[in-house]
Amino acid sequence: MILRTMRDIGTITMNQLKRLVIDPATYIWLFTLPLLITYVLGISLNSLFAPEFKPIRPYNVGLVQHSPIVGAPIMERLESLPQLFTVTVYDDEESMQTDLADNIITAGVVVPADPLVHPVRVVSTPESIVNQILYSVLRPVLDQLMIMSAETVQFTTEVTKTQLTTNTRSNTENEPKTTVAWAQADSFQYYSLAIAVMFAMYAANVAMQYLAADFTSGTFGRIRSFGVTRSRYLFAGYLSAVIMSVLFVTVMTVVTKVFFGVRWGALSAWLPFTLLCGFTSAAITYFILSIVPANPKIIDGAGTLVFNFIAFLGGSTAPLPALPQWLVSFTTWLPNRALLEGYLRLSSGADLASLSNELTVISISLVVLLGLSLIINSVRPKGAL
């Protein structure tokens, strides 16, 4: 029975992949197009990622300094960058928070009375551009002070406007994860990863369209008349979507590495993460298959709609730091965003163990999507199939 099941799954999966591989459209839509998009976005948005990036208007930054020893060099540093910052000094944090809530200032820096005990806090939208610029600008100043004092000077960023909690965390734990990757990414680096994540979903979707075509043509009925169960067939379809997705990311990795010099991290971390990317991308499209009629055109249309939407929210089209804060906070649960952030962190040298947040989001999404799909498929009317 197990052998029969494996034989059926293997035969169906191989047939799906063979058909995908011999289809010239696969090479155009799944390989040429993403590389072309990466190239175009890489060229046209390079300035956004360049070190000399400056905003249209300088950011209004508030400063509360209870310790002149630390406050003075911070003030000096901020004022040395007039193209980036306009500094407003506040006597107390409350007034600064009020102005922040009223959008009079974009971010604030709070220097505590005893910076050796309490951290200097940047109060801003997490992962916003201003947050990241402040981080990159102030980090060297604080590091310098740390060396001078030989004590731990902590640096933290806080959620602002809607949630004004004050956590004290260590330096390494508190580094805004996107900032690190963002700070190290150029446009080709960023978009190679972002487009790979986006099109991994399309690759899985194309495989799923082949599966859906069997439902409409009656081929699925014929296959079932050979004693192949519905679950075996669907599993084989899912597997071919996973393989297609992994294959796509692999090609993107190799080509972008060779042509654009993109970093994808260590192979030992990249490989399991890419497998996870394949399983997740296939799960998204499998979920779509389970809620819409099994028709390749509908699967294609629904997939395009969903992928474009979540790819935007997940940072594959507009860079994450360029999105509004509320949107960025709202989309932390998106599996494709977690995949992109994971790849960004891998590319900046992180290992798999340090991706706990991303892996948690991806794993939960995977389980939820597959679970829901199985439940829906088990209760869905099977009609004449």
Binding site: K18, S217, T219, G221, R222, R224, F226, A384
Partner: protein, 326 residues
């Protein structure tokens, strides 16, 4: 045909409903080994649903089918091993060659490599596709695709072949090819259940027949017995203009005037003369009164279509339509 062997297919009291629509209603028949059994009926009669249930793809609401003694609802896979299914749609991959299609389905049938080779050669010979086996199916004509569809159904040497409208949408020459291939299979002793809404196909191939309408069997038995149900009836076929066929009021007036059932069909009117050809003069007079041209009219001997017309008062085929969605 008289057959004293145990039946190989027993259809017993099948009932299947989709929502409020009854697709199959208390359907029963048996098929003997080596027999070619016809299921004849118009689109929507329930033929495809019946084949779907026999092949284990559709679960009946009531009743059961046994194939070679195995229940399709309880021992589905054992029953399926005895069946070859040729669905109405072209269940094949047009982006692959015929050989790749056959190999794929043969693997799913569980055949081993040597057996796959042998059986592919065999089914290609039966369907006459040897010369085109390495061509992509996309390049095949409609008739060749239909033949490949049948070839796939023959893989695994099934005891019973289910053919669901295998000639839909193809030209007469290709149709003849397919009918001859099916005939050869029947001559070699294969049991065949053949559905069609073409009465001439069923008459050509089948020894026994069930005529279905709205999920019910309205006539069943050996071909000659079913034909006899038409009694003295003959069919008067009168060519009709598009103008008349597209004028429901004129047709309605004609129907009311005629003392016999009238069925407008593709480019003609069919009138069942239930009392035989002696009824013809009276009918012809009425037609002339209604300014229907009698040029090219003819009287047909009773056939399955006459039976269907006389039992249901309507034609087997939809007017001018070859679409099939039963």
């Amino acid at each position: 045909m008289t057959n004293h062997a145990d039946p190989i297919v027993v259809v017993d009291g099948l009932f299947k409903q989709y929502g409020k629509v009854t697709a199959v209603n208390n359907l029963s028949f048996i098929v003997y080994p080596g027999e070619t059994f016809g299921l004849l009926g118009p689109n929507g009669a329930g033929k495809t649903t019946t084949l779907g249930i026999i092949s284990g793809l559709i679960r009946p609401d009531n009743g059961d089918v046994t194939v070679g003694g195995f229940s399709v609802t309880k021992d589905t896979q054992k029953a399926q091993r005895l069946l070859g299914v040729v669905p109405q749609g072209l269940a094949l991959y047009e982006d692959l060659t015929a050989r790749q299609n056959l190999t794929y389905f043969a693997r799913l049938r569980g055949l081993h490599q040597a057996e796959i080779k042998r059986q592919i050669a065999q089914v290609l010979e039966i369907t006459g596709l040897e010369d085109a086996v390495d061509q992509k199916v996309r390049k095949y004509s409609g008739g060749m695709k239909r033949r490949l569809n049948i070839a796939i159904g023959l893989l695994g040497n099934p005891k019973v072949l289910l053919l669901d409208e295998p000639t839909v949408g193809i030209d007469p020459q290709a149709r003849r090819h397919i009918l001859d291939a099916v005939r050869r299979l029947a001559d070699n002793g294969m049991t065949i259940i053949y559905t069609s809404h073409y009465m001439e196909e069923v008459e050509y191939l089948c020894e026994r027949v069930s005529i279905m309408d709205h999920g019910l069997i309205i006539a069943q038995g050996p071909l000659y017995e079913v034909r006899a149900l038409a009694g003295d009836s003959v069919v008067l076929r009168v060519p009709a203009t598009d103008e008349l066929l597209n004028d429901p009021e004129a047709l309605d007036r004609l129907k009311k005037a005629l003392p016999a059932p009238l069925e407008p069909s593709h480019a003609e009117l069919r009138i069942i003369l239930t009392k035989g050809s002696e009824q013809a003069p009276e009918i012809l007079n009425i037609l002339v009164e209604h300014q229907v041209s009698l040029n090219g009219m003819q009287i047909e001997a009773p056939n399955l279509e006459t039976v269907f017309l006389s039992l249901t008062g309507k034609a087997l085929r939809d007017n001018g339509s070859e679409a099939s969605a039963s």
